[in-house]
Symmetry: C4
Subunit: 274 residues, 4 copies
């Protein structure tokens, strides 16, 4: 009876496991509760709203936190049904230190901590991370998997892109610092200060709070920002080829028979052909 209850709860709480009515109801309930919590965190910071509805915000938070606590405790209890976390003690501990469980924990833990002198509002922002859970729910699974696979198969190239971007920012900031420092000693006061200029320029944000005024600085900026076009084009090109590849792989997963002789073809061979 205890085992069966645990098993049922485990299936109920795993979004991808069953497609029964209860699953869907629980899913929708969680999506709505998480969305409302995220909205609450956002709206609480608007003084004019908080001044009027403070009591509602507090009550809603209290109720939500209790629901999330119960859910978390239940998840830790039933996680041993999963092969990965089978051991009653170590399995549960490993589950508790998994990224997903830690994010779940962030949603309610700050509520229980004794807030005395520390500014507790900084911790409440962590409730925002709950929106990650919405991504884990069961919709658009195929698209999520596709994007995740592309990022994972192109991981090295994307990290290199990031390294190139950061290197460009550092190098550009170094040179522009020496070009601008004497003309604008307050804005381009040091290389780290110039790196703020580097980021806003290479990402083409360009707030306009800091920009070169000397000829050398402007020429360097021109070179850097034209190179910066590549900073956008490179990951776009990498991801584009990644998506093409991933979609070709998916096609090859389906069994295929030779169109000429009807014999089955090992998809491994076909991959070489296309």
């Amino acid at each position: 009876m205890y085992k069966k209850l645990k098993q049922s709860l485990y299936i109920l709480l795993s979004p991808a496991k069953g497609n029964r009515v209860w699953d869907n109801i629980l899913d929708y309930f969680l999506v709505i509760l998480i969305s409302l919590n995220v909205a609450a965190v956002i709206l609480e910071t608007v003084n004019s709203i908080y001044a009027v509805y403070a009591v509602y915000f507090k009550n809603f938070e209290r109720v939500s936190v209790h629901i999330f606590t119960v859910e978390y405790v239940l998840r830790v209890w039933v996680c041993t049904c999963d092969e990965k976390y089978k051991h009653p003690v170590w399995g549960r501990l490993r589950y508790m230190f998994s990224l997903g469980a830690l994010i779940d924990l962030l949603a309610f833990l700050p509520f229980y901590l004794p807030f005395t002198s520390v500014d507790w509002r900084h911790l409440r922002i962590l409730r925002l991370f709950m929106f990650v859970r919405i991504f884990k729910l069961g919709r658009y699974l195929s698209a999520k998997e596709l994007i995740a696979n592309v990022f994972s198969s192109k991981r090295e190239e994307l990290i290199l892109c990031l390294a190139i971007t950061v290197s460009l920012i550092v190098a550009a900031s170094g040179f522009v610092y020496f070009a601008e420092n004497s003309a604008q000693p307050e804005k381009f006061s040091s290389i780290p200060a110039t790196m703020w200029w580097g980021v806003t320029t290479l990402t083409t944000v360009g707030y306009g709070d800091i920009y070169p005024i000397t000829l050398t600085g402007k020429i360097l900026t021109s070179i850097i920002s034209i190179l910066g076009i590549g900073v956008f084009a490179l990951p776009a090109g990498i991801l584009a080829s990644g998506f093409s590849e991933e979609l070709q792989k998916r096609k090859h997963k389906h069994g295929t028979t030779c169109p000429n002789c009807g014999r089955e073809i090992d998809t491994q061979h076909i991959t070489h052909l296309s």
Copy 2:
């Protein structure tokens, strides 16, 4: 006779149905009328122009509205020729609530409403939506279909991109709000206010009306805006693979014979091969 007239009108009013001379004349007439109406809505708002030509604008609007009204009534009358809207009452009602017919309605309905105290100019802007009708006309059909197919086949991935973008904006705004709020309490007054910063930063618009000045805020902004490069690269990559796929599908629609044995090959099989 009545039936025949209705049928002829139906064919005349459906741009894709016939390619006769009358069709083209009506098409060009509508394109010009719609373009002039859109231009009129735009130019009316320029006070120096409106002050001089007010009477022309009013007359042109009156004439246009009557033409669009007649066209709308005729379309509702003949829509029963279409299989989808066959029923004389429900078919016509369903046609009237189709997106296309509602946009047509917006073009002239505000003109007939009794404007008393309400600021009617806000409704006249809806005439701008008429330009959507130009897209529905018969040119560049293949390109339109291609783009529409790509968006439809990549719908899930693009919605996920949008969700990731919005989540990044919300998360970034949450953190930057806590970093900047004490330094710039007027500009970063709340998370929703900070989200305006988030949008202008992640989309790299960067007006410069709101930007971080604290070290934490600048570091967070740097991380966010470098991640923001991915926000541009991801949909570009998805659409690129979508266009490649769609063009491959088009090729496969044509019948194909095996290059080896000359027998015809079911394109279904070929799809697996490529």
Copy 3:
């Protein structure tokens, strides 16, 4: 003799026709002369430079104009060697009204016009167009052809992209005008004035001279600028698939033999396979 001279001159003046030494010398001479002219047009506008070197600029312009005039006259004379412009009168006229010849003409015509009251400087800027001629010279021919082919095969899709971008700008400007007009009547004075905001926002330039301050305006801007990401992703995706296609076509131009049976394969069939 006359014919032979004309023929030799024709071959000499057509960059792609011969690869002899004289051709290369003439090519390099023209590239340098054009580059110097473009540089001269640019530097003339710097008052501190022009004040000192005015006489050099004027002399250089005079010499260049005479060279370009002679070259133009010679080109018009020998153009009848080209099959396209065979007729001694109509062929020459058609050549003179070709885009290339008109651009050539712009390089020296303003010099001969009697400048009295008109501000002639506005015409001199047309000399800048000479740089187009550098693109026509013989280097990177394969890359130029590739890019030109992709733009030509994707012409319809790119025009649609442009139409979508312009429509988005117009629609966004219409709505933001009504949202911002009462709050910033000077900046958002009319829809055409707001379209300046629309362009700087959708292209993510964001100078910061004009931006919304009302809540409605900011929400509309957020939607528009997130949609604007697609404005960059769509042409990138179209061009990416265009380049892939074009490169595949190039491969298929080479004759191919079936890897299985050694028979030759019609590339037409192969196209269906890949």
Copy 4:
């Protein structure tokens, strides 16, 4: 003995040659030393930090410079083990003038130069170039090779992109100069000054320090910045097709058997097929 020591040192100093423990330790040591040097160059420019830790910076620089000097001398000594630099004199000289060795030299040479009246800080910035060495170390080799191959195979197209971008900036600046010069004679004082506007607009940085205010200038800017979307889309498309091609080439390198008859297929043929 001497030869063996030289050979061992050569293998030790070439990151890609061996995968022994000592190699990894030396690699990690160099990565950390280079990173710390780059960090030192950056942080030295922050006055508040330099004021306190000047002595540490100076000592760290002295130690680093000695290490890099020893490493450089050793590399020059053992480089003759490489086939490319076999000759004891000319080979060593050719090695010393290779790009990699020159960058190594920049890291310590400024330290030894007698700094008297020249502002030596401008030379110290060259130490920043050391980060290039981190890219040369052995991680992500496959991704680096992929990106390098794509850039090399698409070199011509990318140079054309750059030429188109620069031409657009020059042409746009020429026209906007004539449109804006009379309205803003200080900001749009000459075409070179306007080119600063051109760069910040076409790369969509848009600092907001310089922007058109006349109607003509705004219309020209709108056209240019919409064309500027292509400036981002074109290299993205080129790189996307380059990555797809490169990945297909890699697949074909592996031996392949015909899916129909099981015989081995020369990959050369297959390339034509796909």
